[in-house]
């Protein structure tokens, strides 16, 4: 009996060793590529800025204080950093609006593709992914070309006599939104399509048969069943949207900054790495809280059904 127990112990030990060995690559990547840099950023946020960028190894909470508060350069009093708050608010608002807009445009698109005959669906999906072939910067400049004052839209509007002044679209929040919706739409369409493709359209027929109108079928049958796709798509759009850098800097001009631009400013011209680091962690916290609230609310009603 004792030998059997011993053998079992040995096997168990070997299994544990194997487990660590096999998961080592994943652990190394998580430690080096994800947690490591994050810890450095966290560390930097509690240090003092160096005169030419970089950090000095003295502990300071000044970086965190200046995320939300502003120190008057003359009398050292603190007041709300309204510029930061404006940027926070704009980022959050634009990211939410872009998510909503991609959902509104993406839902019918995905539904359209999912209801095509099987052999033509791939062609439609292929068309959706074509923009991915081009660099993000170039796509953003393409949007700029379309909406600028001398761009296609304004030229057309003026030539048609609808307006005699070009409508200022570029360098506004609207421009950033358009750019983000254009860039992130496939990220919404693809997960939506994936869950719609699995949708049993006989259930849609059953809904119609049981006196549900088109709107009720959408609300009560299609939407609950593709909810995983809606959640996945929204997360995939919201996260890059709130951290968007290229789009706001090209289409928003200098004054319509978003989070990423502000962070870049601190690490670049601002030479305030601790503030930049603190801002980065703030964004992460906001994204995490937003996702938690969102996922809990959207999957909550699912759980209530059973």
């Amino acid at each position: 009996m004792a030998t059997a127990a011993e053998i079992e112990k040995q096997t168990e030990a070997r299994e544990i060793r194997n487990r660590w060995f096999l998961s080592a690559p994943a652990l190394i990547i998580i430690l080096l590529a994800a947690s490591g840099p994050l810890l450095i950023v966290l560390l930097y946020s509690f240090l003092t800025p160096g005169p030419y960028g970089d950090v000095q190894w003295t502990f300071s909470t000044e970086g965190w204080v200046s995320v939300f508060l502003e120190r008057d350069i003359f009398d050292d009093t603190l007041s709300f950093a309204s510029a930061h708050l404006t940027i926070f608010w704009r980022s959050l608002k634009l990211a939410l609006m872009a998510t909503a807009a991609t959902l509104i445009f993406g839902f019918p698109t995905a539904y359209f593709i999912a209801t095509r005959p099987e052999r033509t669906r791939d062609i439609w999906l292929f068309l959706i992914t074509i923009p991915f072939w081009t660099n993000l910067l170039i796509r953003t400049f393409a949007v700029l070309q379309v909406i600028r004052n001398e761009g296609i839209i304004n030229t057309a509007l003026i030539n048609l006599g609808i307006t005699d002044q070009p409508i200022q679209m570029l360098y506004t929040d609207f421009a950033i939104m358009v750019g983000m919706v254009y860039v992130y739409l496939p990220l919404m369409v693809l997960p939506l399509y994936a869950s719609m493709e699995k949708l049993d359209f006989r259930l849609v027929e059953a809904g119609y048969d049981l006196y549900a109108t088109r709107w009720q079928v959408l609300k009560r049958i299609i939407f609950p069943m593709v909810r995983p796709g809606v959640i996945a798509g929204s997360i995939l759009v919201f996260i890059p949207a709130i951290g968007a850098y290229v789009t706001p800097s090209v289409l928003g001009g200098g004054k319509n900054m978003m989070f990423a631009n502000l962070i870049e400013l601190q690490f670049g011209q601002g030479r305030n790495w601790p503030l930049g680091a603190a801002l980065s962690i703030t964004v992460m916290a906001i994204v995490m809280v937003a996702l938690l609230v969102y996922v809990r609310n959207t999957s909550g009603s699912e759980a209530r059904h059973g």
Partner: protein, 364 residues
């Protein structure tokens, strides 16, 4: 009931349904007309691709006819969307909503009709009782068995009290024993609710045992409508005779007609009396069908004669395959009685006695 013409619940008038366009056009239904009476169990029977499901979908409103009218109690419903028709469907796949409980599924139709909560709850409870599923009301549809899902699908379709219930091969996914049970269950439900049932199946036995009337379909056409007995005993067309049950086909010449009967001479020279189908245009030649159990093999002389080729024992009865003198084969089915009964040997010469009223002439 089948023979007393009542009010018509559904009247299908000259309905054509064409799928595809141009060269690839296929007529799934080719000018079909049929009347379905109030409170009857009406079956659309035919092989797959005969258009029976297409006809059902047109009545449900999932597809729209290319031509023709579908009247529900005198009102043309063909252009209405499914949610405006007082008609419900039991789907072949059941199509239960997986994100809802059994009770929520059953109450869905009433909810969509905007009924008050109390009424919905009362009706759902009533339906759960009707299909004997009270205990599983709170279950998700994925947590119940196939037979139970079938009952929920039935209850869901019956809950809004439709004028007509459409059933699209609802029993095909069940195993044999459960199917038998559900056949009886369906008949009971139809009887208790008094709702007109239109049942689609490719299973002739199911059709014969359950229906008040059957419409046999093939290649987008309705070939014959009648009671199970009519369809079985008096098949009007070769397809009907062949599709339902086993039949002996014999070539014959018509010698004379007397009312609904005709004197025919079979190829073997024997002369028998056979029933004419409605709307028959005599042109001398005809095909006569005789069901195997409507004929009897005897030692000695009969109406026709031949040599026993094979004897197959089936328990309740025995099939005797006989090679007729003209080269055709003929099957006779004899019931097996204890002790008594004639037994036949292979190669034995036998006579076949064709019962009165056993022979039926086909239209085609």
């Amino acid at each position: 009931m089948p023979d007393t013409p009542g009010k018509n619940a559904i009247e299908v008038r000259g309905v054509r349904k064409v799928f595809g366009t141009g060269e690839a056009q296929v007529a799934a239904l080719d000018t079909v007309s049929v009347s379905i009476r109030e409170n009857e169990f009406f079956t659309l029977l035919g092989p797959s691709g005969c258009g029976k499901t297409t006809l059902l979908r047109l009545i449900a409103g999932f597809d729209f006819p290319s031509e023709g009218e579908i009247m529900l109690y005198g009102e043309d419903i063909a252009p209405l969307p499914p949610f405006k028709r007082p008609v419900n469907t039991v789907f072949q796949s059941y199509a239960l909503f997986p994100h809802m409980t059994v009770a929520e599924n059953i109450g869905f139709g009433l909810e969509m009709l905007g009924k008050p909560r109390a009424e919905i709850d009362a009706r759902v409870a009533e339906m759960l009782k009707l299909v004997r599923m009270e205990k599983l009301a709170k279950r998700r549809t994925s947590q119940i068995s196939g037979g139970q899902q079938q009952r929920v699908a039935l209850a869901r379709a019956l809950a809004p009290q439709p004028k007509v219930l459409l059933l699209d091969e609802p029993l095909s996914a069940l195993d044999y024993k459960l199917r038998k049970e559900m056949q009886i269950e369906l008949k009971r439900l139809q009887h208790e609710t008094g709702i007109t049932f239109i049942f689609v199946t490719h299973d002739q036995e199911e059709a014969l045992t359950m229906s008040d009337r059957i419409a046999v379909m093939s290649s987008g056409k309705i070939l014959q409508v009648g009671s199970p007995r009519d369809i079985y005993d008096r098949p009007a067309e070769r397809f009907v005779a062949d599709f339902i049950g086993e039949t002996n086909f014999l070539d014959a010449r018509i010698d004379g007609i007397d009312g609904s009967k005709a004197k025919v001479t079979l190829k073997s020279g024997a002369t028998i009396s056979a029933t004419l189908p409605d709307g028959f245009k005599p042109d001398g030649e005809a095909t006569v069908v005789i069901r195997p159990e409507h004929a009897k093999a005897v030692k000695g002389d009969g109406d026709i004669s031949g040599v026993v080729e094979n004897v197959v024992y089936f328990g309740t009865d025995t099939h005797v395959h006989i090679r007729l003198d003209d080269g055709e084969t003929f099957t006779v089915r004899q019931q097996n009685a204890r002790g008594a009964g004639t037994s036949f040997e292979r190669g034995e010469r036998v006579g076949i006695v064709i019962g009165d009223d056993a022979a039926q002439i086909l239209k085609d």
